[in-house]
Symmetry: C2
Subunit: 672 residues, 2 copies
Amino acid sequence: MDISELKTNHPDHWKKAAALRILAADAVHAAASGHQGMPIGMADVATVLFEKHLKFDAANPDWPDRDRFILSAGHGSMLLYGLLHLTGYEDMTMDEIRNFRQWGAKTAGHPEYGHAKGIETTTGPLGQGVANAVGMAMAEQSMAARFNKSVVDHYTYVIAGDGCLMEGISHEAIGLAGKQKLGKLIVLWDDNNISIDGKIELSDITDQKKRFKAAGWSVFECDGHNPDEIDAALTAAKKTNTPSMIACKTTIAVGVEGVQDTSAGHGYAIKGDQLEQMRKFYDWPYPAFEIPEDVKSAWEAIGSRGNEEFAAWNERLTEMSDNRQAEFDRVISGTPHKRLSAVIKQLKRKVSEEQPKKATRASSQMALEVINPIMKETIGGSADLTGSNNTLTDGLDWFEPGNRKGRHVAYGIREHGMAAAMNGMALHGGVRPYGGTFMCFTDYARPAMRLAALMGVPTVFVMTHDSIGLGEDGPTHQPVEHLAISRATPNTWVFRPADTVETAEAWELAMSSESTPSVLSLTRQGVRTVRTKHTNKNMTAQGAYVLAEAEGKRQAILLATGSEVEIALDAREKLQAVGIGTRVVSMPCWELFEAQDEAYRRKVLPAGPVRVGIEAAARFGWDKWLTGERGKANKADFVGMESFGASAPAEELYANFGITADALAEKVKNLL
Amino acid sequence: MDISELKTNHPDHWKKAAALRILAADAVHAAASGHQGMPIGMADVATVLFEKHLKFDAANPDWPDRDRFILSAGHGSMLLYGLLHLTGYEDMTMDEIRNFRQWGAKTAGHPEYGHAKGIETTTGPLGQGVANAVGMAMAEQSMAARFNKSVVDHYTYVIAGDGCLMEGISHEAIGLAGKQKLGKLIVLWDDNNISIDGKIELSDITDQKKRFKAAGWSVFECDGHNPDEIDAALTAAKKTNTPSMIACKTTIAVGVEGVQDTSAGHGYAIKGDQLEQMRKFYDWPYPAFEIPEDVKSAWEAIGSRGNEEFAAWNERLTEMSDNRQAEFDRVISGTPHKRLSAVIKQLKRKVSEEQPKKATRASSQMALEVINPIMKETIGGSADLTGSNNTLTDGLDWFEPGNRKGRHVAYGIREHGMAAAMNGMALHGGVRPYGGTFMCFTDYARPAMRLAALMGVPTVFVMTHDSIGLGEDGPTHQPVEHLAISRATPNTWVFRPADTVETAEAWELAMSSESTPSVLSLTRQGVRTVRTKHTNKNMTAQGAYVLAEAEGKRQAILLATGSEVEIALDAREKLQAVGIGTRVVSMPCWELFEAQDEAYRRKVLPAGPVRVGIEAAARFGWDKWLTGERGKANKADFVGMESFGASAPAEELYANFGITADALAEKVKNLL
């Protein structure tokens, strides 16, 4: 319909939607930066969704059973901020809106998780929100199966733009959702036919409706400016047993002369006269950042619409047994199980005694075998490498449309979708996701791994086959720079455990993390147990520690991680044999070592002895540890990879790339 | 059809295909590692393709107008090696096959570009081959428009598996190909319904045929074991004006009892008795790695089938004018235009005089404005950020189905697909691709960026908005760790130019590169011209150089890149003002500096003075330069980012994150 008809046909709706539109235009204008085109175009859809469908209570934004609303097209952040402000979310004040995109404001350029309640995930990198939503819808189904639909029974709604749907991650997310028959996932596509470079047909001619159908979705359509059609489409979508996509035909920056229906309308564009014209068109005589009382109270009524439902839900929650309720509260709060530490200690003690030679990916499975039975909130999975990643433990079963109690997801060959869906699960709460692929495919999962770090969610990335030690698959599958990639990323714990003991310790930390994702870098090949003396203390929690002390005068320190720790121990034998006192420091987690106080760090890495690092990876980043604190120098060197790997059996690769105890000992001797 | 019917119905085909199958099984068995399931399953399709359709000449593997054959499902590498050996590619000897997956062999676990002729691209990371092929098909169209169909007129064939089609990159590639109506691109889908974790329906229920149709492709089907159907489908696919997908219904590891049609058949599985049973089934009484003469000569006839066509093509080539032929040879060989250096020098001289304040992304456009008119092999593009990435210069025009002379691609919101398509273009030869996105979306493009480095192709990644300096879009769009990510990757030139002069120099190097991809890290915000004195010499080629010398005793060296070089110069002023002699070193390309001899590096960074680095990015990797060569220490410090960024105007971000001349000068004073 011509949007101006709304004024007479749907006067109440018109005003509410106008409030969203004008707020977006004013905030972007004030910041002289941002994107008003999408909020203006999708204001009608958002208004109907919030008014008639979304289950929420602005006064209780943490309500675990609220519907989730994800703005995947995150550049349209003002739509979300407007909705949160108007419906009465306490921390989204008008001052925050006024300070859109300014230092310290909750109203960042793109929605940032943690800035304000109601921002369910960080979006902006396109397509991520769609995939997060898939994870949220899976978490909902898992929780419902575990705790009953009386306390977990909600929808997940997404607004996605053309950009989201062009990104590859959308394919992975849509495919996963279709397979999983996530009937309570509803994607609203802002079908405005505009991207930054021009009309969509400049770069894409995909029939999105057919595409979603091909992936097992139900597809609906509506005029995205017609409240009745929007309502009808949402009502229909909620009734399906498959995920639903609603194609909302809209006009970008509708109602703003000169920019509507053009790519110019996407970003900051509405100034001076245009802003006046827009105010006239929308009958909005009010100054910037002022909402008339009738409109504000209409929106606030929407914000409190869910109040009774929230109370009823609380009632139902208290009807559960005390134990069940305590468990529900525990998993929602993300608290690890109180027996976690005990079962890990038990495993460590056993392994320190038995001293198996084992790939750390298999060690990882041993840790999961003791964690999964007590922490029933874990949901494992793999990107089609279940047997290789060792992520499936006894009794987990596949998570399937017919078995929502299953706790292992067949993510398919979708590393990126898996990582983003796991973020969605972690954001949803009540579940703790981990998922595996080959470490080299960090590359595929990377955009979501960064967002886990940025959002501060404790997603666990199980990255096996972590070096040339994987052997014959060759350089396409052999990580060289991937430890550096994750270590360079803020707020990420990168664990590279040396044996089963360190692997168990890493898992304990990963499962206890509140706001930091973990990357577990695990071998394909067997490694010796190096922690042969049991300690109750989690040594990995310190990031690095003295594994073997120098005998006699300490002349050298060998720094090593993962599969190279046993090589360092062998080199130490060789050096001690010729009278060179050599300490071996195991460094399973640089970030946690960095977080120790300086006194501890200097105790582990004192100035003076020569230092040689060893890791079957690029040296990049290592100089920090080789150099010494405060720029005090040590003579130092490194044994590692200076190029990509090659295809051959693992032992030959280690020998040919010179990652050996002999080479390491030689470097020490050369420095002394 | 039941495959055993082939024996009587198509006895010649049966034998040829059996040779491929047995070779794959024997090689994988000998290596005790690898994947025979796909080669065995797709042998019939590959045999028909090579026998009846693929335009190639094994004796002239570099023929620029050969059809390209891409094994996107790269784990099935033995299919490709077998084809190359049997058809008589000189460097694919039986010894190479015997040494499958061994150190030094050309027969790596996954096909590695450069190991042997006929390996058109490196595959293994799934989906990449499909996207490379899209780039190759685009390069073909561009070359044909430029040089005429008489010398450029070939098909691009791809074998893709379920994994390729589940990966997100396939969505981007398929969408781009559909939009571009690449009628000479034909994807053969190995529709075997098996992935590593089990049946495909465990993770995916997508109707692939409908999916491709939705993206504008023509779709055909065949029984992948019926040579007549395969031939008919290929014949039909070649006639369309859109890209074609042929769904080839196959059985994985067909004919091998116990593993056929199961995920067990995918990887190394056929041993002892099973190998005997397979030999019996395929009437193959010959020992491992022996091909009977009749089969070998039948295959060799296929390998030389294109000989006459090659000769005729050569004839047509010589019919072109000498100039045209020289230009054709130049662009095929990847030689930069002889005037490249001159136009860059001219630009540098002008800029050094005029000294504009300019964003380096705009400087990049200035460089392209002088390069593109002379190097007509360039094909630019952007992932829907053309105006922001400044990649479109005067007269390029959009590359479109109706305008193949256009030289700027609207890649759409497909960073990954863009990067992989560019790799395909570079591999095809005759064109030199560059493409832009925001630097933060290195994350999305990353798997293809790594492959560019691994393959050694000179793709140019134009990464603008390279720090918190982009301002209000906030942390989702602000790179912090992305310089480290690319720098940690072997064989990658990461340029972070300080001004227009360095940007022009970086472009000269990127356009002259033969086997190294370039990442151009460019600012959104304006920066001063710091190279105010013209030099003909390309200073960036040395990686780092003294930009401003200390006056008086040299007490400090400031190391900086990109937008922080001007801050370092300001800090130097402050330090000199209080009598602290301070050198400023600009470091636009670490990798090229690393490649200089030690004497030069020590001249630029002599031991002694304190060193402080500055870069609006993570410190990760910087300690190498702060420390000094051979572990000789300098007192050192760093000014940069210790966390993710934030949303605010750029100047405020620099101030709030402490990336200022004052902070830098203070660090120096603290160290002295």
